[in-house]
């Protein structure tokens, strides 16, 4: 139960960060938090012995893969942020709303 509370709290915290922070780097960080919460839930449920744990090691492997993907994503994301910062001289997301229809 506490596992659910913690992961939902973490997930909401990440979402909240995405929605209210204007800075691209902060948003990227918030996404990492959300990813982390999801991974934590996955691994936590497997450890708690729910039916998910029947395939031994599969869940843990998935968790590790998500972490690796998150690292890769962070690398690409930060690279994009740098290129955006170079081009637009800002990393504030509300100033980047150029696709006005």
């Amino acid at each position: 139960m506490s596992l659910l509370v913690i992961t939902i709290g973490l997930f909401s915290l990440g979402l909240y960060g995405i929605l209210i922070r204007r800075d691209l780097v902060a948003i990227l960080a918030s996404i990492e938090v959300m990813l982390g919460s999801a991974t934590l839930l996955l691994v936590g449920l497997a450890a708690a012995g729910t039916p998910m744990g029947t395939h031994e090691g599969a869940v843990e492997a998935t968790g590790v893969m998500v972490i690796v993907l998150a690292a890769a994503e962070a690398a690409i994301g930060l690279a994009l942020v740098i290129s955006v910062a170079r081009r637009f001289k800002t990393t504030r997301v509300d100033e980047l709303a150029e696709v006005k229809g």
């Binding site: 995405i18 929605l19 209210i20 204007r22 997301v93 709303a97 150029e98 696709v99 229809g101």
Partner: protein, 608 residues
């Protein structure tokens, strides 16, 4: 000669061929169109005369081909058969049509559209011959519909005149009501008999259920009423006068409108088995005879007088059919064809010469147009029933037969005869006597117009004496002249002529006394039948159409069709405001959507 007469189809096919020829090569033929066109009715006339002389007066001279075969339901044949009645009709059709073609040469001189006109006349001749020589109801029906189509084409000859175009449509649609009756009669007989040839139907008629015979006869009567402009479908004939006058003489006086009488005479073995249908025929004929005669009393247009007169005379024929005297009806058909075609062509000559149809603008034409005047007097005398002209004999025979069978209706017909004499005298005096009231220069037409008048006048004077011979040809009995009826009707005719002469001397317009004005104007409009049809039939249809147009078509159908583009534009504009480019706004929507989806899924799936 017998082998020659075996070419029964030629009276249909030759005119049809000539119609196509005139229509296609009209421009090439130019002035010789009438020369080509007149061959068609002349051939019909010659064939008819030879058939009469040949003396084969049952339906034995015949030929037919199988037309349609329906699996398990027998087959339809179309064929021709010539008996006395057919031969007489062919003579009438061929003769009047030939004279009308001749008359048209002078009457329509210099008009445009002559190839169309003469091609239509040839087509009409073909259709009328088909109607007459068919050996069964299928062939008759084909001819029946085609003469209606030709009538439409020829009434609308001057189709640029709105009145003519309207009259053509009206004639077509009104007769169509009757045609539905005829078609239903065919369907009924097909179901009950399984054969639509006259021979087959007549052979089966005595063994049919009485209700079937009466039903079929009444449906045939409906068809006859429509074609012959009898009450209550008489409204189209006065309007049909918008067509060229020679057409009125041929189609709307002598031949097509008489097809109803021919139909009943032809299917006589069926009609004679149903006393109800006969009583109905008598009632229709009697009412039409007197109603139309009354309407003719006060017309101001010379052709309208003749139109109502035609309706009235056809009423006489129907009355004769209603008391079983089909021979008398056909006799009157023949004499009427002669003298009414004469009167119509005479009125055409008058219209051509004086340039007007209004009786008010005529007068004194007898001196200026002597040939027309003399021939008109002969035709008028025949119509009024003066001895020894043609109309006297045939009308006398009808009155005699009706008086023997149904004295009450005979009184009505005597009344109609009196009115006939009255309007004949009135029209004659207004057009031909006293002083000229118009402001043109009336003149006689050329020889092509005078010759048909003289030929028809000769017939109108002499044909009455052929009664016995005609009865032999038809195979009916011709009674000797009934002196009491003859004396009575002659007296009535003289009385009517005298009264009509006197009254029209006092009052040209026929409005009579002021207190009679309302009645007179009602009669002038044909008893308001047109207005009744307009109110009862046309107005509801028109307002329903208006409603459908305004609300269903304009608002609903057009609204949906025309509304799609603005709708799409409005929706697009509404959603484009969501596309702000603000990534966080998107994320918010995404989150809200996910939450909403979760809520829905957990709500729907709560029981699982």
């Amino acid at each position: 000669m017998a082998a020659f007469l075996d070419l029964g189809w030629s009276v249909v096919l030759l005119p049809l061929l000539l119609a196509v020829l005139v229509a296609v090569f009209g421009r090439v033929l130019g002035r010789s169109i009438p020369v080509v066109a007149i061959v068609a009715p002349l051939w019909v006339f010659v064939y008819g005369v030879l058939s009469v002389l040949d003396g084969v007066h049952d339906l034995s001279r015949a030929g037919s081909v199988e037309w349609l075969t329906a699996a398990g339901a027998g087959s339809l044949t179309v064929g021709w058969a010539v008996d006395g009645l057919t031969a007489v009709m062919l003579v009438v059709v061929g003769l009047v049509a030939s004279l009308v073609v001749l008359f048209s040469v002078g009457y329509l001189h210099g008009e445009s559209g002559l190839p169309r006109y003469f091609a239509s006349l040839c087509l009409f001749t073909a259709a009328m011959s088909m109607l007459v020589v068919a050996d069964g109801l299928v062939g008759l029906f084909i001819g029946w519909e085609l003469v209606g189509a030709c009538s439409y084409l020829l009434i609308g000859f001057w189709f640029t005149r709105p009145a003519a175009a309207k009259a053509a449509v009206k004639a077509f649609l009104t007769t169509r009501v009757g045609d539905v009756g005829l078609l239903l009669a065919l369907a009924l007989l097909w179901r009950e008999v399984g054969d639509l040839s006259y021979a087959g139907v007549f052979a089966a008629a005595p063994s049919l259920a009485p209700a079937t015979v009466t039903g079929a006869s009444l449906l045939l009567l409906v068809g006859a009423i429509g074609k012959s402009a009898q009450f209550p479908l008489q409204i189209w004939l006065p309007d049909a006068m918008e067509g060229p006058t020679p057409v009125s003489a041929l189609i709307h006086a002598a031949t097509m409108v008489a097809a109803g009488v021919f139909l009943i005479a032809r299917t006589w073995p069926l009609f004679s088995l149903s006393s109800d249908a006969l009583a109905m025929t008598l009632a229709v004929g009697g009412l039409t005879a007197i109603g139309a005669a009354a309407a003719a009393l006060v017309q101001t247009d010379i052709k309208k007088v003749l139109a109502y007169s035609t309706i009235s005379q056809l009423g006489f024929m129907f009355a004769a059919l209603g008391v079983g005297a089909w021979g008398a009806a056909v006799f009157h058909l023949v004499t009427h064809a002669a003298f009414k075609a004469l009167l119509f062509l005479g009125s055409g000559s008058v219209i051509h010469g004086s340039g007007t149809q209004e009786l008010e603008e005529m007068g004194g034409l007898f001196r200026k147009m002597p040939v027309t005047g003399v021939t008109w007097l002969i035709g008028a005398g025949a119509l009024a029933g003066l001895p020894p002209l043609a109309g006297f004999f045939s009308k006398d025979e009808i009155l005699h037969d009706v008086a023997l069978a149904e004295p009450v209706w005979a009184i009505l017909l005597f009344g109609a005869s009196l009115m006939t004499a009255f309007y004949v005298a009135r029209t004659t005096r207004l057009a031909f006597f006293d002083t000229y009231r118009g402001n043109g220069h009336p003149h006689e037409g050329g020889w092509s117009m005078r010759l048909p008048l003289i030929a028809l006048a000769t017939l109108a004077a002499a044909i009455g004496f052929a009664a016995t011979w005609l009865a032999e040809t038809l195979g009916t009995h011709h009674g000797s002249l009934d002196l009491r009826v003859a004396a009575g009707s002659t007296l009535l005719a003289a009385l009517g002529l005298l009264a009509g002469w006197k009254v029209s001397g006092v009052d040209h317009t026929g409005s009579m006394q002021p207190r009679m004005a309302t009645l007179a104007s009602l009669m002038r409009e044909g008893w308001g039948a047109d207005r009744l049809v307009e109110r009862v039939l046309l107005a509801p249809v028109a307002s329903a159409s208006q409603f459908l147009y305004r609300f269903v078509d304009r608002k609903a159908v057009d609204g949906i069709a025309e509304g799609t583009a603005p709708f799409a534009r409005r929706v697009g504009r509404a959603f484009s405001s969501l596309q702000s480019g603000d990534a966080q706004w998107y994320a918010t929507m995404l989150g809200a959507g996910a939450v909403a989806l979760l809520a829905v899924v957990s709500y729907v799936g709560r029981g699982l």
